[in-house]
């Protein structure tokens, strides 16, 4: 099965890259962009066939490597 992981900066953590993107959008004429937060998207192909077990494994992967939980949150979606 496939796991999709979104890693995003926690609220309250300054995202200078998101700010730069916001400014760039403004200078391109896209008005009304109030905020931009940049993150990472990671796709995993897993041999596991049990969705609950897959989620549990990916959860551990996020905590140990994929996200730095000091500054980042993660969201997992498992697809058959």
């Amino acid at each position: 099965m496939k796991a999709k992981v979104h890693v995003t900066l926690k609220n309250g953590v300054l995202d200078p890259q998101g700010k730069a993107i916001q400014h760039a959008l403004g200078s391109l004429g896209f008005s009304g962009v109030d905020d931009v937060r940049q993150g990472k998207y990671i796709e995993l192909d897993l041999a596991e066939t049990d969705a609950a077990k897959a989620r549990e494994a990916v959860e551990r992967m996020c905590k140990e490597l994929l996200a730095n939980t000091v500054i980042e949150n993660y969201a997992i979606s498992i697809e058959g």
């Binding site: 309250g12 953590v13 300054l14 200078p16 890259q17 730069a20 490597l65 730095n68 000091v70 500054i71």
Partner: protein
């Protein structure tokens, strides 16, 4: 003093650290490749160098923090063996959980490569002992991800425990937002763990160890380590 310098693919300050250590101790440190699973047990100091380990993939220091040799470094750090992480080494030590906080992209998104002034805070460690509290030193920085972050609660704990070793300052020792080169919380440039046995810092003491290189403010740190650990 028996010292080792860890070498990751992409490290580029490992030789500078080795030169600094040899200059102070008279003995060349052991160079340990990242795949090593057996580390000499009688080491007094492990130095984790600057550079771009594993190409900064995922996050600076994230891959190196989980390399085989770091398991040993962690185990030895827990026993009280001194660990010094400079620049990418600091990033690796935070990712490995040996130091609190995280190092993020610089506030202005630019790679900063120049000398900076630092105010010495905690002098009660084997690394910072030769400096006096409040002393201003000049070390070079060269980093893109040196913006130290800790949430309010963690920051309070780090400050309360006296874990801040260095802050970005002006030449006269003033610490302000204007002297905060990269957006680090409370101008933090370097911290130690609670026991004071692990130091991580973004600036490079090993790059200024003799006047010919433009200054020698980094030399006392290596001399002091040799004295404390011999």
């Amino acid at each position: 003093m028996k010292a080792a310098v860890i070498v990751f693919p992409g490290s580029n300050c490992d030789r500078d650290l080795a030169v600094a250590l040899e200059k102070s101790s008279g003995k060349a440190p052991i160079m340990l490749w990242h795949r090593e699973t057996e580390v000499p047990q009688d080491l007094d100091l492990i130095a984790v160098p600057g550079g771009f380990s594993y190409g900064d993939y995922l996050r600076s220091g994230a891959m190196a923090a989980h390399s085989p040799v770091m398991r040993e470094v962690k185990r030895m750090a827990e026993k009280g063996v001194r660990v010094l992480g400079v620049c990418n080494g600091f990033q690796i030590l935070t990712e490995a959980g040996l130091l609190p906080g995280a190092l993020m992209r610089n506030r202005d998104l630019k790679f900063i490569c120049r000398d900076v002034h630092l105010k010495v805070e905690n002098t009660d460690t084997a690394f910072t002992g030769p400096y006096t509290k409040g002393q201003v030193v000049r070390f070079p920085v060269a980093h893109h991800d040196g913006n130290f972050f800790a949430d309010d609660e963690l920051l309070k704990r780090i400050e309360g425990n006296g874990q801040v070793a260095f802050r970005y300052a002006a030449a006269d020792g003033t610490v302000s937002d204007a002297t905060n080169i990269n957006g680090s919380r409370n101008n933090i440039a370097g911290i130690v763990n609670e026991k004071g046995t692990v130091l991580g810092m973004m600036p490079h003491p090993e790059r200024l160890i003799e006047p010919k290189l433009g200054g020698a403010d980094g030399k006392p740190m290596f001399d002091a380590l040799v004295e404390a650990l011999s």
